[in-house]
Symmetry: D3
Subunit: 322 residues, 6 copies
């Protein structure tokens, strides 16, 4: 269960309202690389590993919870940046607009223009955040990547943190409010930290490459297909040893169409991975069996229970299941 | 900020795996009336009232936090209902399928069929929950209704709780696992309770009808337009005093087209509300000014700060803002 | 079937074109609280009650039809606010842009800027409405709440009307065209009226609380969980009798984590509702049987027919079914 | 405004409930080629032509209104095909599931399986239609094509009717209920009729090719680029006169890459259209001016009004505008 | 398989950066009528006809491939229109914003404003295109219409090309960069050409009306229902022979409600098509058998193979299948 | 531009039709981790680097083009797995269903059931692929991650390849057709290869950590917040040196709420990164300037041109720009 602590994790402040920046900042509230995405991604991934890998569960839930706490910081900042918009909207007597005309046509025009570029705030949410990105597009469950395999999920997380980091970096160019900059820098920094957390956690799982269980077909792993004409760039990504640590070398297929025709649709394409198919099959079977058993050892076959009360050990709920 | 407590709020258990019901239960994980929707709705609404109405903020955050805790219960139950699916998928040696054929063709056929009706679990999430509804449609930010006005938002919440309640009621017909039924009954019950919380809170705000600030145009408030032919139902919703507590009566417009033509597009339609337009204008101005001032009194004009450290009073952050 | 009457229900007029406000007004054409949502919501709900509750069907279809008529008013207003945009776009000779430069650079710049903030109008719809909200997000079928239970659906409608009302209230602050204001005030007023219609109709169904059939688990109905730290707000929503009309009192759970651990995940939590579980079961069975029979009495088991020709009584089609 | 006539346009009947087919039929309720899409497409297109082309407005609104009437037929059929599902769900006493087990395990299993393949009906809508397609994906505003030009919109409509027709044709293979087949055949037939209506209407607009105002660049209109290798199909679509009625011939570009390089990115590509660029510019200017003036002649520059009361002539509202 | 040729099909150039127009142009990159939609539509349709109609496959793949090449032109133009945005964002030292203030407050304000109207570019994509339309709404698979019948699909394509053409026509009004105009004119022209390709191809299929296989119900094909009141437009779309080439005439149903009641829901409606129902049934059977056999003759019943290596004849893969 | 080669890159074959697996395989056609996503992601990323980093452009376009070629393999396999569905649907005489009843009720029931679980194939696409995932949810532009920074984008790609790989791994468990398995294994293998390509390419960019330009705030980089109660897992991700290669150590914040209160919302939180803030600022400025200048050196300030004809060098278009 969750508990809400009224103190924000970081002391969010604004120097003065700035509705334009509030709109941009929505990108990290309800956008595809924002805090809700991160929180929900780690939270959702955590279910699959709760029983089999309780140490990784602990880590995923720590970070999911921190991301929910960051979502709160972002929402608080947006709300403060909208200033008195909510109060203005409450003063809704019908003559008000015409009165404003007499007072100041510029102020009115600005308010209308503001509404036109940020309709979500002024005619929909009444000045609070919306669960959308900066363009007003609603947050979407398919932002969340959770595939039930830590060697995949942790890589999804490293990439997610990278994207969240660059979006904060971009956002920092569009405000000079020192309080807001400080909050953004805090949030950006935490993405870097989480990147490192996930990197370290991935490293404790061996083997973790290729992601999942199965090795590739040794005919095709080391082949690079040059799918375009003209001058071709060569580099460690398509020549020499590259990142292959099994003695393999890149095989550069310069004219894919010719190769495909000659090999009858690659069926007769020569093997590029130095390992034999038989060795690979053995590896697949061993790793599949090992991982499968790790999980089966922890997930009860019949009735099951998620929590112990109190939960004193990392895997205590497992012990309680009868 | 949030804190994660490893004990679930309710002791979620399953008697045995049931992937079909797991799929149905997704409706309350990532569906339009599910726990994520509820949690995010109250959480998002809370920002607008943080400073002006800290008592309502406290209530909204209590319930948002409870809904996140319910989301966890639903996800845990789905995961346990999927049983050893994740472990099975890890045993991914390529010959496995053919081996299975020799062992049991039925089991294999069932697994394939299961995958076809629940592709999200078996070829995507690896057995964990997905942020979708039971049909696989991703959760969407526009499920969240937050309009910056408590007389509106609390009504959105009462309706949201009603829908969540009926979905649990329907779901309870599709399982007979006593553990799962007990959890569903707990979750369903909490929707009833929250319905009452929001009802009581709405009642403390006066006036709360009509929602928002403005009264209706007295020409049109009490008119009911009979937009269909044939036999017409009459009842308290279109005749007599109905729910009008200002001495008004329903005005039943039996032949709308004739009325519209005769009144030049309702411009010359006689007034149906007994109150004068002038009185209504006065009411609008008074209420608009009152609500606007309530908010302005609490939201600082210049720099602003969300939290005090520690936050000892309901509205302490306001006092800390300089 | 429907019939289209060429006269608008309300005499929509504009004093002069105003493309910026046209864009804002899209919120009520294709937005989540707009007229299409309302029309489709009541229309969709109506199917389930056609045979069992023909009086409620009549009411839902009257209002659905009125909402379609309002959708037409909103679309007409948007089109008139776009003025001659469509004609301008037709004058599409390729040299036009350069000619415009010589004539007036400001006008051209404004037109480009207008297009940038409202791309849907100028490069997509050619000046007419789009089935999107003000931010350009397409209308979505999941805006519609129809759950096959009047005690739920009518509450969804009351909330929907509340949201539609506040959006009109907000919109009225961004125009001072008296004709447009008059139309908006008409539309806003009708939301108030429909709110009252649905309230009165809900009141004719007894019991209507809790929504649906089932009572809550008496252990949990009256408990309020204080899910946050610091100062806590107390009020009728978590102390005293609150809105409970069965002699019950709120039970305030101050430290939920302690309570959860002590009660083994609330399994041993003491009952908060004064009614016995047995009484509640009886109530459930009685109401379930009653509502189920009400419907079965009206919906034929075998072949079925929707309409009689002519349809002279509220439930005549039922009689025609053989 | 709209008026609801309680008689369905076509006498929708079902011989007996068939929830599986109800699910398939959703495709025409809330799917991309269904009745709501058609109704909303013609309704939305109609706004742009209301004042300038009132005869086309009359036609578009006639058909939009008929499509709303078809949507009602589809929804009624789905509801009747769901039979007593709603009544069953109301009998929601908590012991019911276990009682059912004793009575008939098959019936229960079937109901659960049904729910798993159609979650929208049984755990969400309570047996009524949902605003989704047959897979449960919500209807979407971007199904509607309305581009503010009749030579485009009418072609969008011809294509839309073609798609709606084939979907009904496919659906007719999955039921043998003669009543349902009769309704489907009626609905399918009307798509054919509307196809012809739009074809005839398009024909009254001259010129209507190319759609819109501008002629193509005479260098490129008649060129066909052979973008694939191997054997190439030749036919009236890339050789001979084809559908060109200006004396032009197809120019077949056999080796696009060579041609592109030789012509410096087609800049020096020889003209394929026999008309001179100057003639084309003249055509563009003439047609642009003509269409633009047609519209300006009917759409008032200043204040505007949509309807006359009563509306006795096709374009009477225009005359009423002051 | 595809091959990428580094030369663009058309020599895309820009005279100078123009971020506002870049945003508008997104409509044709990731919008509903843009190049990705066209490419994916023809590509997806092509699968169904690969084996049965290899000449149409060749044509669909030629045009799909050209549309992917146009998508590249649009993306390249957007990128060049964004100028040095990417480089500016890289200069991300935290003091930069404040430095900019000292240098030029206008430039900074403009950059912030630009970001607010185009958040996708500046805080998300870093200056490159996004797979969205001009309003920031993501491209969606339901833009693609592919229904497995060439008489339907080719009409969907004719309509799609019409819409793409008008959007380019509209876009050309919002730039005066001669290089950009030249590219837009090329792209617009190709839509006209493809329109003609699809028209000619549709013409080679006989019969192609009605789309699909089945003729309409002869009772209803020729009836036009006048669904609105007031003055009614009459024209070739509802009177006289219209586009019917079987000797039929339009039947104008002036008062649909009366007709519907009198004919008991159209059941007793007199036939409008001069052909007999028996003849129509015969036609249906003949055409259904013919088309079905055309396909079955080419699609192997058992094992199947897509390609021959090399693929020297239009239908060679079929011959290779064993 | 693209060129289509009629030979598939890999010789896709099926042993016999299998519509259930066709449905599952849709996940890799139009799903969030499928081939269209991969193709569009690399294609979209490529625009930003075309001029500044032509070697990375060459690599991204090679792989994007290969992914489009894989999309074709997946679509071809789905189409062949659907067997004669399209031919069956063409045999659409209206009596057919009833004839089928006499022939074989089982076959008919199966076909109806198949349609109910795969409505997209049988009532929508007529047997071809749809641009949706296996649950029928349309492909979405927000699947594509392209953020204008290679240190981010390449990490997004590594994660995307990981997810695509595991989905193929899961899919391989649901078919035993050796031809299909061979194609899936080929496709799965290429994801591993591309993973390595992107890893090697990322490694050539130094520094590449943190992604983007800015270093984190030294107060917060090395802190791990323990956001949950109970037993806590400790490992290289929150204790010791972890992956920090600057001499730093993890700082474990055991009781975040206490720490937050004590440090006044982390403002007074002690620095965790051993580097000084000044050094970090210097690093930020240096790297920002360097990357910014790399791009500016290649992207022309004024007019710009994408391609040279012919394009003989990696960066030739830049040279051609005038």
């Amino acid at each position: 269960m969750f508990h809400h602590v009224k103190e924000l994790q970081f002391n969010a402040r604004v120097s003065s309202p700035d509705p334009s920046f509030a709109k941009l900042l929505l990108e990290q509230f309800g956008g595809g690389n924002g805090e809700l995405k991160a929180a929900m991604q780690y939270f959702t991934q955590a279910f699959s590993v709760r029983q089999a890998y309780p140490d990784k569960y602990d880590m995923l839930m720590d970070i999911a919870t921190e991301e929910f706490s960051h979502l709160e910081i972002v929402g608080a900042t947006i709300t403060m940046l909208m200033g008195s918009a909510n109060a203005e909207l409450k003063d809704a007597t019908e003559q008000k607009v015409m009165k404003n005309v007499t007072k100041s046509i510029t102020e009115r025009a600005e308010m209308i223009h503001e509404a036109a570029t940020s309709p979500e705030f002024l005619v929909l949410s009444g000045g609070g955040p919306t669960v959308t990105n900066a363009a007003g597009v609603p947050w979407n469950g398919n932002y969340v990547n959770a595939n039930g395999d830590l060697t995949v999920d942790l890589r999804s997380n490293i990439a997610a943190e990278s994207r969240a980091k660059i979006v904060y970096e971009y956002l920092m160019q569009f405000t000079d409010d020192p309080y807001v900059l400080e909050s953004l820098r805090f949030l950006m920094t935490r993405e870097i930290t989480h990147f490192q957390v996930f990197t370290a956690a991935l490293d404790t799982i061996q083997p973790n490459f290729p992601p999942g269980i199965l090795q590739g077909d040794p005919r095709f792993t080391h082949a690079y297909f040059n799918m375009s004409n003209g001058a071709s760039a060569r580099g460690p990504w398509n020549q020499g040893k590259g990142p292959w640590n099994d003695g393999g070398q890149w095989e550069y297929v310069d004219k894919p169409r010719d190769t495909v025709v000659k090999s009858q649709g690659l069926i007769e394409f020569p093997q590029t991975d130095p390992r034999s198919n038989k060795d690979i099959q053995q590896q697949n079977e061993n790793l599949g069996r090992k991982r499968s058993e790790e999980i089966k050892a922890k997930v009860p076959k019949g009735s099951n229970q998620w929590s112990a009360y109190p939960q004193t050990e990392l895997d205590s709920p497992v012990k309680k299941a009868s």
